[in-house]
Every structure is written in C-alpha cells, then in structure tokens.
Amino acid sequence: MGVPPTGLPFIKQFGFEKLGLARLTLPTHGPERIAAVRCVKGWAGSAFGGPAKFNSASWARHWGSNGGVMTDISQKAAERAAITAAAAADPARRPRPSPGPLAGIRVADFCWMGVGAIATRMLADLGAQVIRIEDRKRLDMPRRLPINKTAGARAYGDEDPDPDPNAGGLFNNFNRNKLGITLNMRNPRGRELCERLIARSSVVTENFAPGVMERWGLVYDRIRALTPEPILARMSGYGHSGPHADFKSYGPVVQAVSGLSHISGLPGREPSGWGLSYMDNMAAFYNAAALLTAIHHRNATGTGTEIDLSAVETGITLLGPVMLDVTVNGRRMRGGNFPPGNRVEHPDAAPHGVYPALGEDRWIALAIMTEDDWKALVAELGHPDWAADPRFATQRLRHANQDTLDPLVAAATAQRDRHELMHRLQSRGVAAAAVQTAQDICDHDPQIAQSGVLFELDHPVIGPARFEGLPIRFSRLHVDNWRSAPLLGEDNAWVAAHVLGLAPDEFEQDVAEGVFG
C-alpha cells in the first residue's frame, strides 16, 4: 500500500462522515491498522486548531476533561479526547475471550497508586476482566507523575501542571490488560451504577484510606447483598483494625515502621534503607496472592471472603531470620556491628561485598563462601600473596579480618571492567555479579532478553513501549498481554453497554449529567 491517507481523505475511506468518532471503525489488525491509528492521531492533533471545527458530536462530552462547553476545552484536552475516542472505537482494544485461568472472573477494581494497581495487574495478566473505576477529579498519581519520554531527568514529585493522564509511564506499566472507566461517586446515579457493576462482578478490590468504602456503604455485607459469595480485598498500610488503622503510609513509611529500613545500612551510620518503594511492590504481590488464594478457595468451596492485608505486617514477615534472633535470643539490633552492610553475619564468610570497578559509580558484588571460591578469586585477581597470608588462611580468619581484606580486594577490582570480571569469575565458579543499572537490565542483559520478561505493547498515546512482565515461564498457562493500559475513561461506553446494560440513550444522558465524569 502507498502512503496512508490523512485527515479528511482518511476519514472518508473508513466511512467516517461526521465527527461522531465513536462510530469510527478501524481495521482490526495488520499494518493497515497501525497506519490507521497513526492517521487518527495525526488528524486528532491537527483538526482541533480551534473550537470551530468541534461542534457536532456529543463524544467530546464523554471524553473531554471538562465534560462540558466546547469553548472551555483547551486544545490539549480536545486532542486527548479525540485520541481517547479513537481508542474507544478501536475493536482491537475491546475485550476478547481470555485464555487465562481467571477467565470469567470480573473484578470491580477501586485500587490505585502502584501498590493497588500492581496487585490487580496480576489478576488481569491471568485473564480476569479487571475494570478500574477512576475519578477524573482525583487522578491516580501514576497518571500524573513525570515518568514519560518527554519528561527528562527530574524527580518523580516534580509534576507538570497539566499532565497528560494517558502518558504516565508508571500508570501504563501498572494497568495493562485492564479496562478503565470514570465514574462520579459523588453523584447518586454514579454510585447506583457502581453497585450495578459490583452486582455483575465477583471480586471487589480497594486500597483507599480507611473510611472511604464505608462512606459509600460498600462494606462486605452490602457487597454480599449485591453479588453472591464475593471476594472483597482491602489493602492498607496498617490493616483495618487496631489503634493505628487510620495511620497514613506509603512504601518508605511502611519500610521504616516494619523494621526493613533499620536492618539496612553500614554499622554506626544512619540506615541506608531502600532506594525504592519495595513494600509497595511486595504488598501488591502479597495482595495478589491473597486474592488468588481466595479465588482457589471459592472455586473449591463456593465460599467468598473478605481480605484485610496490612503492608506493615507484610514487611515484618519479610525481615527474615533477624526477627527470630530478637524473639528467641533477645538480641538488640541497635548499635554494635549491626546492620552488617554488604557483609554477612551467617555464615562467617568473606570477602563478601560490593567492590569498585572501572568507571564512575561502577561496582561488582562478590560472595566468597568456600575455600574453592577463595582460591578462584585469588587466581583471577592475581594475588598469590593473599593465599600465603596467615590472616586469610581460613574462611573464619578472612571473616575476622575483613577490615584488612576488603581494601585489598577493592584495589584489585578497581581497574577491572565489571562485566568482564563477573564473567571471568563466574567461569571459575565464583558468585560474582556486576552491579547492573536499569539501563543494563533493559538494553544489554542477555539473560533478561532471552526470558522475554520485558515485552512490547502498542499504546495509543505513548506508541509502542516496553513493559514489565511476569518473571515466570509457564509450560501450559498462557499470559495474554492483549492491551495496553486504558486511557482515562476509554471503556466507559463499552462497559456501559456490555456490563451495565445501559441503552445508548441512557448512556448519553448519564454522560450529559456528569455521571461518567
């Protein structure tokens, strides 16, 4: 085919006469589809130079961020609305039968932020129909954060005043395979439709601050009255009982309170803790496991359940053996030589640490656990003098003399390329690893590349992009990454028609009255 038509010729070719984009049909697959989607994007970007051309369709009210008067809609909002309308009209982005083990399970998903969205992403990856319920007036933070290809190098808290809610890299990474609707829960009709959605679902998920679901009356007994034997997963920082149930938290606070931060760092210094919201991810994984446990149990017994997951308590279960060192041995973990930094207390092996390599901020991690490891290290680093040194004669002595040994190892690694040294030591059977950056992982790591864990999906706004997949290869079960994350309100019309059972005129009226706003 030649150069695809753009603008009006394109519209005519695809039988699109008026500006009723919702009726636009696109080829379902192949290069024609890709060309067509690009055309719509190009057209949407150029067609709305001013509000004059924007006068016939009701669709902008569905998808326009102001939901109202055309002249108030900024050009940017109009462009976004057009792209959303095109995506909503794209049959390849509408649900299809799922091959996953959770096929047939519909989830009314109130989860937001990373900690909520990652949990329900697992359900979506495994075939559940997860319908995210969003609020246009309180945008999910991952939609706003400046993690996208035009944001450059800045702190994630340094937000744009008018961020494109569909360009957020974190949101798109957390919400693939889900549907998304916007519902106005301040509106009685919005709450009525929400209850109708719950009635047609069998799982409800949320991670609001305590009290939000209660304010809407969506407690377990009410949900059970709407749908038989439901699973309601409630995820919070502190759990829904106890004197601190109302405390506010996010990943780093959970890490601090649960003890994970304290056990991380060099002795005699402030904790170095975690450089990421480890507990947002881990609490999300635990919540996903709790949901799957509940689904397995309901399949076997017919009985639903309410789930109360505490992120702080999850963090405590992840402290590892140090917790029993405290409860069994009465050990105190403040002061002394704790935490051990990159060294290990058990077993008493050394050298064990992170050593400099060639280049700025480049490092290699070594774990020398046996006599064979030590001999191999000595050989690779070319230091037979160490082997002859009585201070390093046994594993226990090397452990006892780490303060002497570590600078020697560091001097010997400092001019070596971290990857080359890693592979040479590995060929000698030593546990060595370059301290890899995200760039290494994403662009150069052959082990990650062969696993396919990072995979590409097209996205109506950010284009083809890579996303973080499940690091599991199943021999039979098929993870179907069928769609990138929903644009804001993209699935309003589909869910209204196919789940809520609204007639087109009912939907139009609800949209006009701001119910989907």
Binding site: R154, H244, L266, A300, V328
Partner: protein, 388 residues
C-alpha cells in the same frame, strides 16, 4: 476450627535455596501438608545461623526455623539413587518445589518437564537463580549478587556515592522471587481446578528482581534517564532532600517534605508553631509554594531542628494523629512493644518443644473472614517424619 484454604494439599519441598523453602512454607501457613526433603546432613539452611541460644547445631538454626515452620521432614539421599527415590512422595503430591540449576538437575538425573510428564497433575515449581534457560542459567548466586545483577542494589545506599551500593537487610532477592513464584503457583493450582492438569513453572530470581526496581526500570524505559541512589529514599534522576530525620533519643523518623502539598504543609507548620519551632515559616509568604521552593534549604534545617528536639516515637504518633504520613524507623525489637501490633495479635506463640520453650513468630499479614489462621507450628527436626 474452619478448614484452611490448602488443607489436603500435598507439597514436596526439595529446595536448596531460601526462595523455594519460603514458598513451601507460605503454603504450610495456609494448611498444606509440606514435606521437606533433606539430605542426610540436613538442608543447607540448617547449617546457617543465627542460632537459638547462640549454639550452632542442626536443630538450632533460626534461618531454618524461619523458612521451614510447619513442615514435615523426611531424609532422602537423592545423590545416591537419583530422582527414583522421590517416586513414592511425588505419586500423591500436588506440588513440588525445587531450586536446582540446570547443571545440578542433570547431575541428579532430574528434569522438571519429565516430572511433569510423568505426574500430569503435579504443579512443578522451579525457582532458580537465573531461570532454566539462557547464557547465565548455571551462574553462581548469592542473595547479594542477585540484587546486584538485577538492578535493585544500584538504587540502595547513601547520598555519598563514593560508598558502594548497600544491601538492604534480609535475603530480599529470594523473598522477591518467592512472592512472584507464589502468584504463579496459585495461578497454576486454579488452572488445575478446571483442567485437572499441572504444569512446570520456571521462575527466575534474576528476572523477579529485575521486575522489582519500582522506578528504576520505568525511568529508563520511558524517560531514558538513570536514577541516583540516595540515603533511605527513592533513587531518582536528580538529588532530592533527605527524608530521614534524627530525633533526640537517637531514633529516626521518616517524613518526605513535599512542598507542593499545601495540606501537609499547613499541618506541619501548625505543629511546629505549637512547639515554638516554626520561626519564619508562619509568615504568609510561605503559603506560596514558589516561595517555599526558593527557601527549601532553610525549611529543611528548621524541620531537622524540630525533630531533633523530640522523642522519635512520640513524634511518629503525634504526626500521624495530625494526619501526616510519617513513620518511625523501628528496630526489630521495637515491634514487640508496638501497641498496634499487640492489639492485632500479630506475633504468635510457637512451641518449639525444646529447651527454648515457646517463642514468638511473626503471624499472618493478611486476614481472611472465611477462615481462622492455623496455629503456627515449629520447624521439624531432621528426619522427624522419615518412614521407620
């Protein structure tokens, strides 16, 4: 006593790594019958401290206790007769967990896919350092090197980047893999409810941790920028303000000062003002976020002083009472005194049936209305459940 969700589920635990042991224990916590298969000299973790009472010994490893509570123990010398000795155990098992890398599997004459073919109902969970395929599949591994190779370690450490990246405490690379493996295992069990068939799960510790960098990978994938590690707060493309504040009693509180958040700003200034520590921050000029941003350094110093005159735990409770997301940096021993955890009965007694008596274990972080948590049981003694 209600049935546990995995009552009747039989799991065979062949793990040589914590990542697998922990996975099997999480099923034991939920009622599964987990058989820990150990070599004659005991599982590897029996040889690793810390030790109950400080005395090394096969029955005293707190590492083994942590990851094997509630299991049975059977001794089998797999190296002597290969996988054949497993047959009686696997014949009626629902799930088997193993952590051997490809070269070791070949030595043992075991193949997860062959096992799956021989026992079609069996869910075979392989959790290995790098997965069963690929150029690094047989590379050596430790928890530290796993975090290094996969990316999280580069994000952890101090503002002073001449200090190497610092390992977050606990075997977290393996915990991360366990968390993913559990999701996969549950998905396979649910699928089996419909089809009656098991399958093989190939879980890579490396892959799991590479998918657990939170912002590191997205910042590279989308913005194409690297992140810089910073003391006890997010690694980010640019340097941010410290978020951990020293307190009068030597403890620390964690609080992120987000200057653009007007609501939190007002709460903080009010609180500081009541303590007589707000200084010029009550000046209406500071109501403007731009003014605040221009005076970030001064604000940070005042907040440092404000926390430095307070007891950490008191500041934590008072800040939360006022609605701020502030955390106390607890040491593990502090958790035993925490009023919230006490009220929820989080720590549970476990009778060790030994000189150590009854000790506290962390309990369930997740409660289900449909069943009560099963009482926690001690880890097994070596070969305790071997056939006579």
């Amino acid at each position: 006593m209600t049935m546990q969700p995995f009552s009747g589920l039989k799991v065979v635990d062949l793990s040589d790594l914590i990542a697998g042991e922990f996975l099997a224990r999480l099923f034991a916590d939920m009622g599964a019958e987990v058989t820990r298969v150990e070599p004659p000299d005991g599982a590897r973790t029996r040889h690793v401290g810390p030790w109950a009472g400080g005395a090394p010994g096969l029955e005293n490893s707190l590492t083994f206790w942590t990851y094997n509570a509630g299991k049975r123990s059977v001794v089998l010398d797999l190296s002597a007769e290969g996988g054949g000795r497993l047959a009686p155990l696997l014949a009626d098992a629902d799930m088997v967990v193993m952590t051997w890398q490809p070269a070791r599997l070949a030595e043992l004459g075991l193949d997860p896919y062959e096992l799956s073919a021989r026992y079609p109902r069996l869910v075979v969970v392989s959790v290995t350092p790098f997965g069963l395929t690929g150029p690094w599949a047989d590379y050596r591994f430790s928890d530290l090197t796993a975090l290094a190779a996969a990316g999280p370690l580069a994000q952890c450490g101090y503002d002073d980047r001449s200090v190497p990246p610092v390992n977050p405490g606990g075997p977290q690379a393996q915990h991360t893999a366990t968390a993913f493996a559990r999701i996969g295992a549950l998905a396979a069990l649910i699928e089996r409810q419909a089809t009656g068939l098991g399958q093989v799960l190939d879980v890579s510790i490396h892959g799991a941790n590479a998918m657990n960098t939170e912002l590191g990978v997205p910042f590279w994938l989308y913005n194409r920028v690297p992140v810089l590690r910073q003391t006890c707060r997010h690694a980010q493309p640019v340097v941010t303000q410290p978020a951990m504040f020293a307190c009068a009693d030597g403890s620390y509180v964690y609080y992120t000062l987000i200057l653009a958040d007007q609501h939190s700003w007002k709460i903080l200034v009010q609180w500081m003002d009541e303590a007589g520590m707000a200084a010029m921050l009550t000046d209406p000029a500071f109501d403007d976020v731009l003014h605040r941003q221009a005076h970030m350094g001064q604000i940070q110093e005042l907040v440092e002083c404000f926390f430095l005159i307070q007891d950490g735990h008191t500041a934590y409770l008072e800040g939360q009472r006022r609605g701020l997301p502030i955390g106390i940096v607890n040491a593990p021993e502090d958790l035993l005194e925490d009023e919230h955890l006490k009220a929820r009965g989080f720590f549970v007694p476990v009778d060790t049936e030994s000189e150590h008596g009854t000790v506290l274990f962390p309990g369930e972080s997740c409660r289900f209305s449909a069943w009560n948590p099963a009482p926690r049981r001690r880890a097994p003694r070596l070969g305790e459940n071997s056939p006579e």
